[in-house]
C-alpha cells in the first residue's frame, strides 16, 4: 500500500515520517516533492573500479545554474533530509524532469526502513540540461511494510551531502 499526500502529512506530524525542512506546499496526492541541493560530486577517474575508493571533485551549483552534459555522472543530493522508521521510501524524478531526459536515479529508488538523511541523486542527462539549486527535481513516496521492522544502520545513513559509492568497503 502506498501512502496518500494527506497521510504523509499526518505521519510527518506524528513523527513516523521525517522530512526536514517540510512544507505542506510540496505535498502531492501520493508523494512529496524534494529539491536539488547545491553540491555535486563528479568522479575524477576515467575508469571506475568498485574495489578502490574513487576520488571526486566537488562542484557548487552557481546562482545562474549549471549545464549537465550527457555521458557524465553527477552525484547531487536532496535539500531535504528524508526517512522513516515506519515506511519504505521510494524516490523518483518528477515527470517534468523525466520529459527533459534527465535521469534523477539510475537505480536503487527504494530506501531501507529507518534510513534518514539527504538522498544522493544519480543525475545523468540524455541531452545537455541546465539545473538550478533548489529546483523541485523529484518525488518521494512511502510504502507500508509487512512484518516486524529492523531499522537501517548502513553506510549511507545520516548523509548531509552527496555520497559517492562506498562499494569498495564490501570488498574489504
Amino acid at each position: 500500500m502506498i501512502l496518500t499526500g494527506k497521510k504523509i502529512e499526518n505521519e510527518v506530524h506524528a513523527g513516523k515520517i521525517n522530512i526536514s525542512p517540510f512544507s505542506k506546499n510540496f505535498l502531492n496526492p501520493n508523494s512529496y516533492n524534494f529539491h536539488l541541493d547545491k553540491k555535486i560530486l563528479v568522479y575524477k577517474n576515467k575508469i571506475l573500479d568498485p574495489k578502490k575508493e574513487q576520488p571526486t571533485d566537488e562542484i557548487t551549483i552557481p546562482k545562474e545554474g549549471i549545464i549537465l552534459q550527457p555521458n557524465k555522472l553527477y552525484l547531487g543530493c536532496t535539500i531535504e533530509e528524508i526517512g522513516s522508521p515506519c515506511y519504505v521510501p521510494l524516490l523518483f524524478g518528477r515527470s517534468s524532469i523525466g520529459r527533459l531526459g534527465l535521469f534523477v536515479q539510475i537505480t536503487a529508488p527504494l530506501g531501507d526502513i529507518g534510513t534518514y538523511g539527504k538522498w544522493t541523486l544519480m543525475l545523468t542527462p540524455v541531452l545537455p540540461i541546465k539545473v538550478y539549486y533548489n529546483m523541485r527535481i523529484g518525488q518521494i513516496l512511502f510504502i507500508a511494510p509487512k512484518g516486524e521492522i529492523e531499522l537501517y544502520k548502513g553506510k549511507y545513513k545520516n548523509s548531509k551531502k552527496p555520497r559517492k559509492s562506498e562499494i569498495f568497503k564490501d570488498f574489504e
Binding site: 500500500m1 571506475l48 568498485p50 519504505v88 537505480t107 544519480m122 545523468t124 516486524e148 559517492k164
Partner: protein
C-alpha cells in the same frame, strides 16, 4: 506492502520464498542483496527481427575486473535463483552500484508472482566501470499481493510465461502472439 527482513525470513522458513543459494548475510532491511552471476552477453547490435549479435563473457576470466563500456548493452544474471508463488518481486541495483553510474535494469524491474528465475540484468553504464563476478550488485524485494493469484504462465494471462527457465535469454520476440 513490502516485506521486511523478518518477514522474508519467515517466508523462507515456510518455503513461500525460495532463494538458491540462500545466505542470511545477504538479507537487508526490506530486501535481499543479490550477487552478480558469472556470464555476461555484450550486445553488439540488434537487427530488425530483434536478433542480437552478442559476445559471451565469462567474468571468471577477468579476476581484475571486466570493464563495461558506455556504448553497449550487456545482459547479465543474478547468481541466485528466486522462486515465489505467493509474492511479486522487484529488482533494483544497490545504491553503491547506481552511484557508480550503472543501470541494472533498463526497464521491467517486476517479476510476476509465480516466477522461478535467475533474473536477467540489463546492464548499461554512464562511464567506463569495472565489474567483478559474484559481487553484491543489487536487491530483490517482495511485494504482498492483493487479489486472487494465478500462476505465471497461466493461460488466463494472454502474454505471460515466456521467461520460465534459468538461462540468460538473449532475444524473445515479444510480439509473437500478436
Amino acid at each position: 506492502m513490502i516485506l521486511t527482513k523478518k518477514e522474508i525470513l519467515n517466508n523462507i522458513a515456510s518455503k513461500n520464498i525460495e532463494i538458491m543459494p540462500f545466505s542470511e548475510d545477504q538479507l537487508c532491511y526490506n530486501g535481499f542483496n543479490f550477487r552478480l552471476g558469472r556470464f555476461l552477453y555484450k550486445i553488439d547490435s540488434i537487427d530488425e527481427e530483434y536478433q542480437p549479435k552478442t559476445t559471451k563473457i565469462d567474468l571468471v576470466d577477468y579476476p581484475n575486473g571486466y570493464i563495461l563500456q558506455p556504448q553497449f548493452l550487456y545482459l547479465g544474471a543474478t547468481s541466485e535463483t528466486y522462486k515465489c508463488d505467493v509474492h511479486a518481486q522487484l529488482l533494483y541495483g544497490s545504491k553503491s552500484i547506481g552511484q557508480l553510474g550503472i543501470w541494472v535494469h533498463i526497464s521491467a524491474p517486476l517479476a510476476h508472482v509465480g516466477s522461478s528465475i535467475k533474473w536477467t540484468l540489463e546492464l548499461k553504464c554512464v562511464q567506463k566501470v569495472k565489474i567483478y563476478f559474484d559481487m553484491i550488485f543489487g536487491k530483490i524485494y517482495f511485494l504482498k499481493n492483493l487479489g486472487e493469484i494465478l500462476p505465471y504462465g497461466s493461460d488466463y494471462y494472454f502474454n505471460s510465461g515466456k521467461y520460465v527457465n534459468n538461462k540468460i535469454e538473449i532475444s524473445k520476440k515479444s510480439f509473437d502472439k500478436y
